[in-house]
């Protein structure tokens, strides 16, 4: 067991960055891909053309940058707090992604979908509250 350490403001700040940057990255990728429209991947020149369109999109690059920010915050926060504390907090991301999709992209989210997302968040929270290590630390 790790000795109990007080959680600093920095930890909460990094978790907030995680909870926003991850979903924001996905929403920006969604925005970019919707803008590009139907993808054609065959024959090979079409695949190349599709790839060029994807990587010429500013939203896609912003999305990738946001996902990298998420990943860096995730790595940093794991060095400050236990995984079993961080992982349940990350369950919020599923709710945030739907909220950002609704606010930024005007997506219609049905009540049943909101209910499903709430159950997913609960499930991810429960998974995260279990011991992340099933073997003893040596």
């Amino acid at each position: 067991m790790m000795p109990q350490r007080p959680l600093h403001l920095k930890t909460y700040l990094l978790i907030a960055v995680m909870a926003i940057a991850g979903p924001l990255g996905n929403v920006l990728l969604g925005k970019g891909m919707k803008h590009i429209g139907q993808l054609s991947v065959w024959p090979l020149p079409e695949l190349f053309h599709t790839g060029m369109k994807i990587f010429a999109s500013g939203s896609i690059w912003l999305g990738i940058a946001s996902l990298i920010a998420f990943f860096v915050a995730y790595m940093l926060v794991l060095s400050l707090a236990d995984y079993s504390f961080v992982q349940p907090a990350s369950s919020l991301a599923y709710g945030v992604v739907a909220l950002l999709g609704y606010l930024m992209l005007g997506e219609r989210v049905s009540p049943l979908r909101w209910a499903g997302i709430a159950v997913i968040c609960l499930g991810v929270f429960v998974v995260g509250r279990t011991n992340p290590r099933t073997t003893e630390r040596v």
Binding site: R113, A115, G116, I117, V124
Partner: protein, 124 residues
Amino acid sequence: MPHYVLFALIVVAGTGGELCVSRAMQVVGEVPSFHPADIAKVIARALRIPWMWLGVGMMATAFFALLGALSIYNVSFVVPVTALSYVAGAFGGVAFLRERVSPHRWLGVVLVAIGVTLVILGKN
């Protein structure tokens, strides 16, 4: 290509990729510190392990499948469905990494599966 194949690729290639990277990192061992020189050494060691390359390849596949799914469906549908990776992760952890999954964790996995089912049913 049927659209569910994209979701299967996101979940299976994504989870498989993470499992391969975990396995590679088990070989590499714990990161001694976050000093850039130590991180560079860990990355160099990790890149010599075939599991790492397989994992990165699978994760890249999952990323492009995610882009494909996002070109068709709303992000508020795609991302919650990808939570199925918790279900795949639990089964993969048991089969591939010989982890023991507690009843408590199975409960969470079942809740995720129920939530994803509701999201799919509420697809308008």
